[in-house]
């Protein structure tokens, strides 16, 4: 059984390959996608163009949340102002009509932005699972350089195609500096 090592030792989060350059990381991610791996992650000190697509990251939920929140904020602000100035407490201001929609625009605009921005940040954190006090990748001491000058690619053990020996051989074929099994 290829899972022999995993069964006796501690559980494994995945196999981590360390690379020298952004291009090598991008190529590794592309190769893994071609090989059929789906549960992968990449870590780099800076954003890399095209990497999100290469690890199959497709996030389409946040824009929808933001749109609904923005529309809610705008509608809420506009109707609240209407209710206050035309229904609940009508005040004659300079002889202007109670329903003075022009003066409602700035607040409606601001609340649209406020709702949309808060929703964007909060739903991003919620979907990311952040803040996250513990993550197995830090079990590899070399990973500290992920925020400096090294590029890491992880194939997680939960991947349906994951096989400790085969996956290690696959990662070794991508010319990494090192391939490490990361404990969970």
């Amino acid at each position: 059984m290829s899972h022999h090592a995993a069964a006796t030792g501690p559980a494994i989060h995945g196999l981590m390959a360390e690379f020298d350059s952004a291009q090598a990381l991008l190529d590794a991610a592309t190769a893994a996608q071609k090989a059929g791996y789906t549960r992968v992650d990449a870590y780099s000190p800076f954003p890399i163009h095209g990497l999100a697509e290469a690890i199959g990251f497709r996030e389409r939920l946040i824009p929808k949340f933001v749109f609904v929140a923005g529309a809610t904020g705008g509608t809420l602000a506009f109707s609240f102002q209407y209710w206050v100035s035309a229904i609940d407490y009508p005040l004659n201001i300079g002889g202007r009509p109670y329903f003075s929609w022009v003066s409602f625009i700035p607040v409606s605009f601001e609340l649209t932005i406020l709702f949309a921005a808060f929703t964007a940040v909060i739903s991003m954190l919620a979907l990311n699972g952040l803040p996250q006090p513990y993550h197995p990748v830090f079990n590899n001491p070399a990973f500290a350089r992920a925020s400096q000058d090294r590029f890491f690619f992880v194939i997680e053990a939960t991947d349906p195609r994951f096989d400790l020996d085969e996956t290690r051989a696959f990662l070794n074929g991508l010319n990494p500096r090192e391939v490490v099994a990361v404990e969970d």
Binding site: Q23, L26, D27, T30, H49, G50, E53, P63, F67, G94, V102, S103, I105, P106, F109
Partner: protein, 405 residues
């Protein structure tokens, strides 16, 4: 490695001039223009007054693409990026229509009394106009117009000449010399913004010499940017069907141009709300008639259409990532925006003259098409006269490196 290779960006292919294909696109736009010329001729004999007003609308519309092209071209020289490399020849060809716009200005220059209230003899009895006469007088108006054309023409001539040198003598350009585009574009943009501001005051805002709005010039600048982005996307969606544009105008590029058009849609709305909010709140007798005229009577519907079709609809559609990346979808949004640019100019210019009856006049659109019948052939000819992609720009390869799919 494989993902970053630029093999498909072979210089010989990119430098091709697809004259036959561009010629076909040009003749298609001539059909519409020809119909416009006929209608405009009819209108000329039906109503000389309306003809002149519509002529100003058509003139300002096409001038906004000529000058918008100059502005966006200089922004591209300052910022770089793939979107600018792909759009650059379109803007260069757009700027080269300036000589035509100089000639087409003559009917306006010779009919000041027909358009501008301050140029009529009655203005001598108008105390408000008398206070502005140091600025609003025919000789100074002509001097300013000449100055605008000289500044625009100078920038356009130099930028196009350097661009041609880049194609013809690329070896000489690598090194400090390619910085000259940037060195000119910074001050050039300042000059353009100042001259367009004065131009809008002179040629459009002074139609009603009592009215003033300090954001007027900026509004026109935003409108020029919006019209030019819509025009660029429309032209590019036709050019992308064949080489060499098919190799460089990838969905990534349409995405970027769509985002810029989206930004200009919001900018246009933002400027308009600013003007409305300030004038509405102040409620001053010099300013408020502008909106009283436009938010009541026949112009009320034009205002509603503008709000819906130049802001709400494009805003909602352009939120979509997939739509911006799809040339055959985004070009419909661009078409609506271009039509709405005409309506917006009629909305700005028309109410000064037309107080009763319908707001929009068929002659407005006929003259936009008729002037287009002169503007567009010049544009297509300039476009066909140069390689369609600036492949010899020293920044070209760097800019295209991240254009994926």
């Amino acid at each position: 490695m494989a993902t970053h290779s630029n093999d498909h960006l072979d210089e010989a292919v990119l430098m091709a001039r697809p004259e036959a294909e561009i010629g076909r696109l040009g003749s298609r736009s001539l059909v519409l223009g020809g119909a416009g010329v006929l209608l405009a001729l009819v209108g000329f004999f039906v109503s000389r007054e309306t003809f002149l007003q519509s002529y100003l609308v058509g003139y300002i519309f096409w001038l906004s693409i000529t000058l918008g092209s100059l502005g966006i071209l200089m922004i591209h020289h300052l910022t770089g990026g793939a979107w600018g490399m792909v759009g650059r020849r379109i803007w260069e060809a757009g700027t080269k229509t300036l000589p035509l716009m100089v000639i087409l200005f003559l009917p306006i220059a010779f009919n000041l009394e027909g358009l501008y209230a301050w140029a009529r003899p009655e203005a001598a009895h108008d105390p408000v106009v008398q206070l502005k006469v140091a600025y609003l007088n025919a000789p100074f108006f002509y001097v300013r117009a000449v100055l605008f054309f000289v500044i625009w023409g100078g920038l356009i001539y130099v930028l196009n000449r350097w661009s041609r040198e880049q194609d013809e003598e690329p070896a000489r350009l690598i090194g400090p010399k390619d910085r000259r585009f940037r060195l000119l574009s910074g001050p050039g943009l300042c000059l353009l913004v100042i001259t367009v501001t004065f131009m809008s005051v002179d040629w459009v805002m002074s139609l009603d010499p009592h009215f003033y709005s300090t954001i007027f010039g900026v509004l026109m600048l935003g409108g020029q940017g919006l019209a030019t982005m819509a025009f660029t996307i429309l032209v590019l969606s036709a050019l992308v069907r064949f080489d060499p544009m098919a190799r460089v105008a990838k969905p990534d590029v349409f995405h970027d141009l769509g985002k810029l058009m989206f930004a200009f849609v919001m900018l246009w709305a933002y400027f308009n709300v600013s003007q409305l909010l300030i004038i509405w709140s102040a409620n001053l007798p010099e300013e408020i008639p502008f909106y009283l005229e436009r938010l009541n009577g026949p112009w009320r519907w034009v205002s509603t259409i503008l709000l819906l079709l130049q802001f709400v609809l494009p805003f909602l559609f352009l939120l979509s990532r997939d739509l911006k990346r799809n040339p055959s979808a985004v070009r419909w949004v661009a078409t609506v925006i271009l039509v709405m640019r005409v309506v917006d100019l009629v909305w700005t210019i028309g109410p000064v003259f037309r107080h009763e009856g319908s707001g929009l006049h068929w002659l407005d659109f006929a003259l936009v098409l008729a002037i287009g019948a002169l503007w567009l052939p010049l544009f297509w000819r300039s476009l066909a006269g140069r390689p369609l992609v600036p492949a010899r720009d020293p920044y070209f390869k760097e800019a295209m490196a991240h254009v994926g799919h």
